[in-house]
């Protein structure tokens, strides 16, 4: 079989092919499984709903062009808050390489405490820290994980690091999957240097050299079955950008093994359309609700110069709070600054003096997927933030403000819609003591997890600990949806490592699972 990328939008008729394995999704889960199984000699077809853009094409896009062409729902997908819960903007890639193309490159392993929880409290000894060690090492080598050095930090991040140190809070160097990062600070919107080793640059080229066929613009509707045995998938080749969801031609892929790797928000839809039933499917979703804090200084920081993400603090890990440095493109940051007309212009002019720091909370699974009431491609995700997590968000906002003031900020800009900059610590504490409506908090998420979680008991999960869907043969899930709980850290390397572990298990059991 010849490896290549086929642009589904350019095909002029129906497509029907056969392979050993068909993988639905080309992101951190699907690309890794594709590469691993291709290296073992399997004939692999990868189907990606989104388009394929070359690194050169991505580099030539502005941030809004990346949002509209490569992010889910034109970059406007959000979890609908239930009760006192903010609307949470959810960043997900819809392109070859999936969300790995849109990360800040941050590479964490799953914390020891989480592995311990899975083993002791969830009865999953197969998911111990030691069980993933070899997979972590393999992933970290392939995607070139390196430690960001302090001199690569932006002055934005350094301000918060300095302020935190004054308060006795330590920040550490992040690890990221980059080669020769120049510090352009726009990793989420396509690195102009091509320095970030997302799976389209790390895993997929080698996989295609080994014969993997990747079809972009291919939206899978359902898994095909012969009895309980998965035999392939079928769906639609879709239209070009600007015709989101337009269906052109049918496709059918026959395969011995089917791997679903559409991500937490879309994997349940494919499984449900295919007749998989579980009360856990599409539920228990965790997001790591995240937010930013601005610090306004009286000096030019040129905060856009430096690695977009370079330092983190787990000082408050026990409180479920992690701080991770970040700096978005200046127009994206400006969109969250308060004011209209002259008041907005005045603060936009101060962008050179605004440092930004991010935080996220290790949340409980309050997300549930539903069919969209408006129709259309995207399912509706509702999310109810438990009071403990809301308190954590508010606490973290205060802590970030304290850090900014300790670093000499003249004012802080909390992530509260329409709130003017705060100029004193007492105002900041008053904000936590008498908080505004939670729905005024500017909140985002990048790590949806857990909608088809693993368990050793079919009554408690959708798949077993090897990703095999209960009640079906030859059907696997390999993406963030299988993680049993929130992990409290960026999920890129954890998903890739879990995918590696599951791919190795498929390889070792091939004769049994493909029969």
């Amino acid at each position: 079989m010849t490896g290549e990328i086929l642009h589904g939008r350019e095909l002029s008729g129906p497509l029907e092919e056969s392979a050993d394995v068909v993988i639905v999704g080309s992101g951190a889960g699907g690309a890794v499984v594709a590469a691993q199984l291709a290296e073992d000699g399997k004939r692999v077809i990868v189907l990606e709903e989104g388009p394929h853009y070359t690194p050169e094409e991505v580099r030539a896009m502005t941030p809004s062009q990346v949002l509209r062409r490569m992010w889910r729902d034109a970059g406007m997908y959000a979890a609908l808050g239930v009760g006192q819960t903010p609307v949470i903007s959810l960043a997900m890639g819809r392109n070859v390489g999936g969300s790995s193309v849109h990360t800040g490159g941050v590479c964490f392993r799953i914390p020891s405490s989480v592995h311990h929880d899975w083993v002791k409290n969830h009865g999953l000894p197969e998911l111990s820290e030691a069980s993933l060690e070899a997979a972590y090492l393999d992933v970290e080598r392939r995607v070139h994980v390196v430690e960001v050095q302090p001199h690569e930090r932006s002055r934005s991040t350094q301000k918060f690091v300095d302020g935190a140190r004054e308060l006795g809070v330590e920040f550490k160097n992040l690890r990221r999957n980059t080669v020769d990062c120049e510090g352009n600070s726009r990793c989420n919107f396509g690195c102009p240097k091509g320095a970030k080793m997302s799976v389209d640059l790390s895993y997929l080229p080698g996989a295609i050299e080994r014969g993997v066929r990747l079809v972009s613009d291919a939206q899978v509707e359902r898994v095909r079955f012969d009895g309980t045995r998965a035999t392939g998938v079928e769906g639609w080749l879709t239209g070009p950008p600007g015709h989101y969801g337009a269906k052109k031609h049918r496709f059918t892929i026959h395969a011995k093994v089917v791997v679903i790797a559409c991500g937490t928000v879309h994997t349940p839809e494919v499984l449900q359309n295919s007749g998989v039933r579980s009360k856990h499917l599409g539920r228990h979703i965790t997001l790591h609700p995240a937010f930013r804090m601005g610090g306004l200084f009286d000096e030019a920081l040129d905060p856009w110069n430096g690695a977009m993400q370079s330092a983190y603090s787990d000082h408050y890990e026990r409180e479920g709070i992690t701080f991770v440095g970040m700096y978005p493109p200046v127009n994206v940051l400006s969109s969250g600054l308060p004011g209209v007309g002259p008041s907005h212009r005045a603060i936009v002019r101060k962008n050179r003096m605004i440092a930004v720091q991010g935080g996220m909370v290790h949340d409980e699974g309050g997300g549930v997927l539903h069919s969209s009431p408006l129709g259309g491609r995207e399912p509706l995700l509702t999310y109810e933030m438990v009071p403990r997590d809301l308190a954590r968000v508010r606490r973290a906002i205060t802590l970030l403000g304290e850090m900014a003031f300790a670093a000499g900020a003249k004012a802080v800009i909390p992530p509260i819609f329409g709130l003017d900059p705060i100029t004193s610590r007492s105002q900041l504490r008053a904000l936590e003591a008498s908080p505004p409506d939670a729905r005024k908090i500017e909140c985002m998420a990048f790590h949806p997890l857990g909608s088809a979680k693993m368990s050793n008991d079919p009554r408690r999960g959708v798949t077993d600990v090897w990703g095999a869907v209960y009640g079906a043969r030859g059907l696997y899930v390999v993406d963030g949806s299988v993680l049993p709980t929130s992990i409290g850290v960026n999920s890129q390397v954890p998903i890739m490592s879990m995918a590696t572990r599951l791919a190795w298990a498929m390889r070792d059991r091939w004769s049994r699972i493909s029969a």
Binding site: S64, D73, E182, G183, N305, G306, G341, R352
Partner: protein, 145 residues
């Protein structure tokens, strides 16, 4: 263009208010009609990349267009307000204590501002020293910390 004439007029009025500055004499200085048109057209193009957002945004525009009475006591659509009253109205909308209303305003403001500040003359206002697709070089600040 996904918007009809009425939605275009209301959205144009919101864009104009959002991008209004103060000139050297202290008077309100709205953006050029060309910039306003560019932003409206760009938002329209952006929304074509989603199946549901065109409908959602038309509803948002209608919401923002029809509530001046509640925030500034004027029986007019947002496009019917003079510029200074429009700015006051939208500021009050953003600052309202009613979370869902404030959030609705932000849902409009975010793509509008992202799009508007990709227009070179607006991007220059931010102080950003290069185009979005251009590169820079480390070291960041000499390691002299």
């Amino acid at each position: 263009m996904i918007f009809g004439a009425w939605h275009q007029r209301q959205l144009g009025a919101i864009v104009e208010a959002m991008l209004t500055d103060i000139d050297d004499g202290g008077a309100l200085a709205p953006p050029s009609s060309e910039v306003t048109r560019l932003v409206v057209e760009d938002l329209s193009d952006w929304l074509t990349h989603s199946q549901t957002m065109p409908t959602a945004f038309k509803a948002l525009i209608a919401l923002l267009a029809l509530l001046p009475w509640f925030f500034v006591g004027r029986l007019a659509s947002v496009a019917g307000l003079p510029l200074d009253a429009r700015i006051t109205y939208l500021e009050r909308f953003e600052r309202t204590k009613v979370g869902p209303l404030s959030m609705a305003f932000i849902a409009m403001k975010v793509p509008l501002v992202i799009s508007a500040y990709e227009v070179p003359e607006n991007l220059r206002v931010t102080g950003f020293d290069r185009g979005f697709t251009e590169r820079r070089r480390l070291p960041v600040h000499g390691g002299a910390r």
